[in-house]
Amino acid sequence: MRKTTKTILAALVSLPVISATAAASYRIGAPFPGTVTATTYYSSGAFHGAVDLSSGKCNYWGVETGLVGSISWNVTIRTTGIVCYGSGSGNQNEVKHTFADDHVFRQWHFIKDADSYDRTCDRCQIGNEGGTGNVTGPHTHMQYDRYGTNNTSWYSGTSKGEFLSRGETVGYIQ
C-alpha cells in the first residue's frame, strides 16, 4: 500500500508539464528523447549560449517544436536531403517563433520532411533529427535570443550530459 502511494506521489511530482510556473511563462520541452550535449559553453570553452540535444541517431523521427502552447512557427529550409554531418555554416534548417518583444526562440539543424512548413500549433512535428548547417553530428540546437544576443538564463535547470525524454522540461522563457 505504502509502495503504491509512493509511486503515485513520485509520478505526480515528476510531471513538469503541469507545474505552477508554466502558467506564468512558456515551458520548453525536449523536442525528442536525447542527451544534452552542450549548454552555455562547449567542452572547448567556446561560447555556445544555447542547448544542444542529441539522440545519437540521424534522421530520427519527429523533432517537435519545443514551446508548450499554441504558437505560430516560421520554417526556413536551407538544406534539402538527409544531411547528418553538416552542410556548411548558415545552411541549417530552422524553425522559429518571434515574440512581441522581438525575442526569438529557434531550433536548428533538423532534416526537412513533409511536416516542415509554417503553421500554428502546439508541439508539432517539424522534421527529423539531423545535422544541417554547421555541425559535427545530428542534434537539435535550441536558442533564445534578441537582437543578436543569446539569452542563457532560460535553461538554468538543464545540464550537459542529462538525458531528457520527449517533452521533458528544458527550461522556461519570458
Binding site: R2, T4, T5, A11, L15, S72, A100, T120
Partner: protein
Amino acid sequence: MTRPLLRMNPRPRLPALALAACLLAPALAAAQPSTADGAPALKARTCSVEGLMDSIRRGLHSNSEAYKTYLRTLLRESAVKLPLAELQAAFEREQDPALVEHLAAALVARTERGLEPAAMQAVAKRALDDPNPGLRAATVRALRRTGALEHTGDLYQRLVRDASPEVRMEAATNLVEDNLHVYGGHDGPAADSAVAAAATSSDPKVTAHILGQLMTGEISTGSAHKIEQLLHNDSVEVRAAASAALGGVPAAEAPSARASLVSLYYDESDPTVRKSILQSIARLGYASAVPELQRLRSVDPSLGSEIDSWIQILNKNPQDWGLILREKQKQQAR
C-alpha cells in the same frame, strides 16, 4: 466510457500527463477513510472523460486557483489520449459554463496538437449557436491563445456581432491575445482579421478594445484604410483607439495614416483623442514629426504642454519607440 487510458494507449512511451490522469484519482482517494493500520485506503478508479470531469467538478469548489489551473491543464493535456467521440459528447451535453470551458479547451487542444480540425470546429459551432450567452462566452474563452483564427473562417466577425455584450467582449479579447501571444504581433493575416472584426462590430467598446491593443506593424493597406475610416466614428473611444492603432502601421502606410491623423486633429474636440493623435504622429515620424507637431501647437492651446513634451523627447532623436514612450511616461509622472 470507462476504459483505462493505459489500454487505449498501449505504446510503451505513455505521456506523463496521461499517466497522471490515471494516477490522480487514487491520489485524491487517499483522503478517504484510513485502513486499520493507518495507511490511506486507496480506491480503485479508471481514467475517462467522466472521471476527469468529476475531478474538475470537485476542483471548482477549491479555494486554490493553482489547483484549478492544474485540473484545467490536466484535461487539456490528456485530451489527445481521450476518445474524441466521448469528449465531444460530454462537451455537447454539458450545461455548466465552467465545465463547458474546460471541455471546449480540451477539444481545441486536440486540433492544436495536430489531431482533427473538427474538434475545434465543434467548439466554434457552439460559440455561435448555443442559445445560452453564458455558454457561448465560455466556449469563446476556450478558443483564446490558439490558432482558431486559421481554422474557423469568419467566426470572429460573427462573434463581435453577437447579441450578448459578454460574448462580443470575449471575442475581442481573443483577437487581442491571439495576436499578441500566438503570433507575437508579427503576423499580417492575424492582425488583418482583428481589424476586420473591429470594423465589423457596432459595439464601440469591442472596436476600441481591439484597436487599442493591437500591434498593427504588419497589417495590409486595406486594413490601414479601415482604421482610417474609424477615425470618423461617433464614439470617442473608437476614435482614440483608431488613432493609437494608426501609430504602428507599416512604413508604406505611414504617409496616409499621418495625413488622416493630422486632418482629424483639426476637426476633433475631445482631448483624449487629440492626445492619442499626437502620440501616433510622434510614433510615425520620430524626429521628423517635430515640424508637424509645431504646426499643430496653435490648434488647441490647452494641449501646448503635451506637444512641447513630445517635441522635447523627439529632439533628442531616440531610435526606439519603447525608449520614447518610457521617456514620455517619465515626464508625465513628474
